[in-house]
Symmetry: D2
Subunit: 151 residues, 4 copies
């Protein structure tokens, strides 16, 4: 596995993201240390990505023939977040392949321009039954390109 | 953030790990897709690392003056895991710094020699009050070196 | 333990509640059956009650000398809720004792007047260190009475 | 909803239960207060009940034509539990109806004979597609009666 060093970028800012949604924190997101537990950030990432797909009509839960399998996730934590913070989540895409997409997500505390955490989420879209990769539809590919950012 | 490509190593096998513990899955670890949700893997990682530290007398919950802040986590998912699987978690260390450690964790299904998932977890040890880095104690450093593996 | 029968009331409606807040569901709130997992409802209850206390200045996380220990929780499930539903949570109080309160919470799907689920949450307020019951402050008692409903 | 008073029984002891399984706690089961969060107890209940059904061959995840809908859950908390405690969960049945069952679960800390928490879980078994109640099979009814305890 790669060292954390090469990944250790400066935090993103809000202008780096074309799409935002709001995450409501919950009391038990906080752990013993008084901050949101590291695993909980990934439930935010999941919700941001799937919320975007649902909003755009690209994901119908329970009726999907193509589902997004998660093959890699990463998160870097720069500054603490804690309930009852309200969080703005920025979303963008990178590396749109034949049947896979890398989503990048950054979490911003209200009033802060610098990400408190950021990471990625790699989806491979597969047939729900055979679990073999399905090429992205033209509609989905077009939409994902609208969120694309140069590397 | 780095591309997933350079990280895309082959799955580890059991012989790559000097320490194991067992993870019991729970009914609601499974999500809509019938497999353990990607975020839940990180609760396993947390439990493996902290369980090791508690077992070795290096972490007393509620009394700690030094706490491990998580600064980066990553997971790669190779094969599905699902409740009611029982999981063997392998643990090892890498990059033991002055006040930080990279833990590597791999999850093995019972009877499988190849990891279903693997990832890392970077802890920076800080003073509980000031949140400034604290150098690792000699006792802890010595123990972490016993789990070290060459890169 | 009492039979579920005596508790088996008809679902509440919105007019039964003096205070509401909104709950944002998350992708992994849904379980294998495609609905929000029964345990997750209690994380909503927790968030509604603590959110109310924080909003009213009665709970400062991390600085509290008096904390609310949960001694009993109950939930009845009438109709399914699922991500990505947005949920309105109604809150009211009953049985305001010397150092304890019973909160009643009902969850309404947007556009529905009848509760999809309802339950209670009994808090005993204790000293954070000694864990002995602390009488409710006059300020808190007065606020809780504003949410009170006749039985 | 009923007052907590009529429910306020003395904690059960181990001899009250014919079946036990072990629950492994996780680091992030603990919340801000240093104890297992009230909602997490229900994930234990879920796992105990479904684990029993799977062990006895009565539940095949992903292939079930009959599923257990949860219609009511309750938990009373007598004494704190916290990670890294190992927990013994006792299970018994009551009120075995045509298509419904009330399970009672109690959680015991290792070495303690008195329950730290106890509660119930009411399942109605329904057809997976129509969601209409399905009568319990003879096999299941027979098994549930083995766990029955007089009220």
């Amino acid at each position: 596995m790669a060292s954390p060093k090469p990944d250790a970028k400066a935090p993103y800012t809000r202008k780096d993201f074309p799409y935002f949604s709001t995450i409501q924190t919950r009391w038990n997101d906080n752990d013993l240390c008084g901050h949101i537990n590291n695993a909980v950030y990934y439930t935010y990432f999941d919700t941001v990505v799937n919320g975007f797909l649902i909003e755009k009509g690209l994901l119908q839960l329970g009726q999907a023939q193509t589902i997004g399998l998660v093959v890699e996730t990463l998160c870097q934590y720069f500054a603490p977040l804690a309930y009852p913070d309200s969080i703005d989540a920025g979303l963008r895409t990178r590396k749109i392949g034949t049947s896979s997409v890398t989503y990048e997500i950054a979490l911003f505390k209200k009033g802060c321009d610098t990400a408190a955490a950021q990471g990625h989420f790699v989806h491979v879209y597969v047939d729900e039954k055979t679990r073999k990769p399905n090429p992205l539809s033209n509609q989905m590919r077009s939409l994902l390109h609208q969120l694309e950012t140069p590397q």
